[in-house]
């Protein structure tokens, strides 16, 4: 779904991509009706298994164009003391900072290993709540130093604000984990401001599905190349950011029939390249180019590729097949979204003292990622590990490691148990 309208393709279980004859339109019921009609005509009655929608381009467009319909956000940073330099007091990303109407710092926070650096300043929190009540801002992003491991201070602030402003939408950074206070702050600010728009978009799609294909589930494409359920995305809209890039990589690999490849994508600012491994785009918690700041939700890694235009010389080195895409991206994005799986991601700091402790920390992270995958729509028991890496954190106390785990699952029972032809659309 793009600002110029929604389009769709149908992907059959055998991987065949069927076009859906509908022009770009904001008439979502018309798109869904066309999908249902195509599925019935080309695959069979009741063949449509699911619809996956990518709303990331709509959300990003709203942020970039500074749509007035996006609510302003107040930010509470919980750190031992406030920033004294103006650059350190705000987000380095202009697009993020302009969403923020009020900022407060409350003394508190923990270090990366969970040690409290300051008790939460309760008196300051009371004053902040009083000031917040006096404004008309009802969207609050809360980020605390060390909240990935110890969310207590964030929760205390969220509870106090909820009590003072019962209708407030509150996004807390500990819901996302990840590294870096500024990246975590940007993620929750976007999460907070995009909630209403995300809800409106998903409600439209759910209503259209109810009308034309009752019982067919709606899935929402994520920035890591997977999908999640509408309820999860309503709670954490930021997980959709970057979904179009990830889906396009996956879709290009699917069309080219490569499990492992490098895909060259055309962008207005030049060509970029991304990798696909085992059918999934390579992702990191990294900077989303359009926003100018890092986020802690994983997105496709896209590197500038100055060569390779029009199939010419490629300057970056790769030892996997190169896929040079052509034409508008929408079909690849739709294919990538339709063929996606439920996914989960954990990125955290842990402290280990022995090989046994390390194995336990890894196992626990993998189990949590598997639980996330189930929450994102995977059938129980279908989750499997995509990537698991543990690296020592340089210049930290010996034993400090960063654990990253990526898990995927299947949304259905295995295909062999579903006898009728089936398809899914995006």
């Amino acid at each position: 779904m793009c600002p110029d309208g929604a389009r769709a393709v149908l992907v059959v279980d055998d991987g065949t991509v069927l076009p859906v004859d509908v022009p770009p339109t904001h008439d979502v019921p018309a798109v869904v009706a066309a999908v249902v009609g195509t599925a019935a005509d080309r695959v069979g009655p009741d063949a449509l298994r699911a619809v996956t929608v990518d709303v990331s381009a709509m959300l990003l467009d709203a942020v970039v164009r500074a749509e007035t319909s996006l609510p302003e956000v107040a930010v509470v940073r919980i750190v031992p003391r406030p920033a004294g330099d103006p650059e350190l007091a705000r987000s380095p990303a202009r697009l993020v900072e302009r969403l923020i109407s009020h900022r407060w710092t409350v003394a508190g926070g923990h270090d990366l290993l969970g040690n409290e650096l300051r008790p939460l300043d309760e008196a300051c929190l009371v004053a902040v709540c009083a000031e917040l009540v006096a404004t008309d801002v009802r969207h609050l992003a809360v980020v605390a130093a060390g909240s990935q491991g110890r969310p207590e201070h964030e929760r205390a602030v969220a509870d106090a604000v909820q009590a003072a402003v019962p209708g407030a939408r509150i996004s807390a950074a500990s819901d996302f984990g990840g590294q870096g206070l500024i990246a975590r702050e940007a993620t929750v600010v976007l999460d907070c401001t995009l909630g209403q728009l995300t809800d409106a978009l998903l409600t439209t799609w759910e209503a259209a599905l109810d009308q034309h294909a009752p019982g067919v589930p709606l899935r929402v494409a994520r920035g890591d190349g997977g999908f999640s359920t509408p309820s999860r995305v309503r709670a954490l809209p930021s997980v959709t950011l970057g979904a179009a890039d990830a889906a396009e990589l996956r879709g290009a690999a699917h069309v080219a029939r490569h499990e492992d490849c490098r895909v060259l994508l055309r962008r207005p600012d030049g060509q970029v390249a991304g990798d696909v491994r085992r059918g999934l785009p390579v992702v990191r918690s990294a900077q989303l180019v359009e926003l100018g700041t890092a986020l802690v939700v994983p997105t496709a890694v896209l590197a500038p590729e100055p060569g390779g235009a029009d199939g010419g010389e490629v300057l970056r080195v790769t030892d996997v097949p190169l896929v040079v895409v052509d034409g508008p991206p929408f079909e690849r994005v739709c294919v990538g979204a339709a063929t996606s799986q439920p996914t989960g991601w954990v990125d955290e700091i842990a402290y280990i003292e022995s090989a046994e402790h390390l194995a336990g920390a890894r196992r626990e992270a993998e189990e949590r990622a598997a639980a996330m995958v189930t929450a994102n729509g995977a059938a129980p028991g279908t989750s499997y590990l995509i990537e698991s890496s543990i690296v020592a954190v340089p210049y930290s106390p010996s034993g400090t490691v960063r654990i990253r785990v990526r898990v995927a699952g299947a949304s259905e029972v295995p295909a062999a148990a579903v006898p009728e032809p089936a398809g899914s659309a995006a």
Partner: protein, 374 residues
């Protein structure tokens, strides 16, 4: 804009006379090359902070120690602790300035210049921050020419200068003053305090004079770092990059391969040294198809090819992600990444008997002769 004075008044290739906001991206890239410990989590905040300071206060003058009056008092600066901790607990902004001023108060004399304790990692950026805040020049010299684990692993210490008195000022607003007579004691005393200060701190150490630094510091390392950073910003192909780096700092490529394994606690652990031993295994994707095994601490300390030691500390060992065209940081490695393993000779002092004893393979528990000595 800064001024490049290749081979003229600076006396060495690519000497730079000032650092402006325009130079910050190159400074960051060069800092990544000289230490693969630099991650991306705090990049945008740190570079915005430094660029903002340089915009408001004007460019920082970069001076060789020889260009300063010999009695000019100088103090080194670095970030002690982890970049990850700093990313999660960003500076308030006054930590480095206050660390310097605390030593000034103690000694009753102002400093006329600052210099990097290690021109690499975020420690390459923060002396520029302090210079901009204090309105003093930055010396084009440092104590490591890369990074080593402990604060007495410096050319100043090898030359007989004391790191003390030193001050660590934390993001919590608290600070620690350490006065010792035996250099290595300073690091031991400091580490425990750094953890309590939040995992990182602004460190001001090695107060001395420009005259002393003429013989004790490694000259030209800030200019060198900036030149490397400018090259990296051009995002050349891997082959062009290595060829051009060779002209700047003698860099060469050991091999290219995909990560197939990350191992932890793979060697005996010394808990007094930050970062724990781990290993990285790459399968070479071309050439001799060797297996490259990299031994890591907070830096890469050794590279074995099919079991044979081919490069080792104090060599600077770096990883270049050839798919993305950028230096790979140790905290972002994942199986499947395609990397060039690069080796750059360290500054000559580190190959002396004293330097090798301090930062060579033996200091990492690997009892093998350095490849350059065979």
């Amino acid at each position: 804009m800064s001024t490049a004075q290749a081979g003229t008044t600076g006396g060495y290739l690519g000497a730079i006379s000032s650092i402006s906001a325009d130079d910050v991206p190159a400074l960051y890239q060069g800092a990544k090359f000289y230490s693969p410990a630099v991650g991306e989590a705090d990049k945008s905040a740190l570079t915005a902070w430094l660029a903002g300071l340089l915009d408001r206060n004007g460019p920082v003058a970069l001076r060789r120690p020889e260009a300063m009056p010999p009695d000019t008092r100088c103090v080194s600066l670095c970030v002690i602790g982890s970049g990850s901790a700093m990313a999660d607990l960003p500076p308030s902004g006054d930590e480095f300035q206050l660390a310097v001023q605390r030593i000034e108060q103690l000694q009753g004399q102002p400093f006329g210049a600052v210099y990097p304790l290690a021109a690499a990692t975020v420690s390459a950026l923060v002396p520029v921050v302090a210079a901009a805040q204090l309105g003093v020049p930055l010396l084009d010299a440092d104590g490591m020419g890369r990074t080593y684990a402990l604060i007495h692993h410096t050319s100043m210490y090898l030359a007989g200068l004391s790191p003390a008195p030193l001050v660590a000022h934390g993001p919590t607003g608290e600070s620690v003053l350490i006065e010792v007579t035996i250099g290595p004691r300073a690091d031991r005393l400091l580490r425990a305090n750094v953890d309590t200060l939040g995992g990182w701190a602004a460190l001001a150490a090695y107060p001395t004079t420009a005259g002393a630094l003429r013989r004790a510091a490694l000259p030209g390392t800030v200019s060198r770092l900036l030149n490397v950073g400018r090259l990296l910003l051009e995002r050349p192909t891997p082959d062009v990059l290595v060829a051009r780096l060779a002209a700047i700092n003698g860099c060469s490529r050991i091999g290219r391969g995909r990560i197939v394994e990350l191992e932890h606690l793979s060697r005996p652990n010394d808990v007094t040294v930050p970062g724990h031993p781990s290993s990285l295994v790459l399968e070479e994707s071309d050439g001799q198809r060797r297996q490259l095994r990299l031994e890591l601490r907070s830096e890469i300390v050794a590279v074995f090819a099919d079991g044979r030691l081919v490069a080792a500390a104090p060599d600077l060992l770096s990883l270049f992600d050839v798919s993305r065209g950028e230096i790979a940081s140790l905290d972002s490695l994942e199986p499947g990444d395609l990397l060039d393993v690069l080796v750059t000779p360290a500054d000559a002092v580190w190959y002396s008997a004293e330097g090798m004893a301090m930062v060579g393979l033996g200091s990492h528990g690997i009892g093998l002769d350095h490849p350059r000595r065979r």
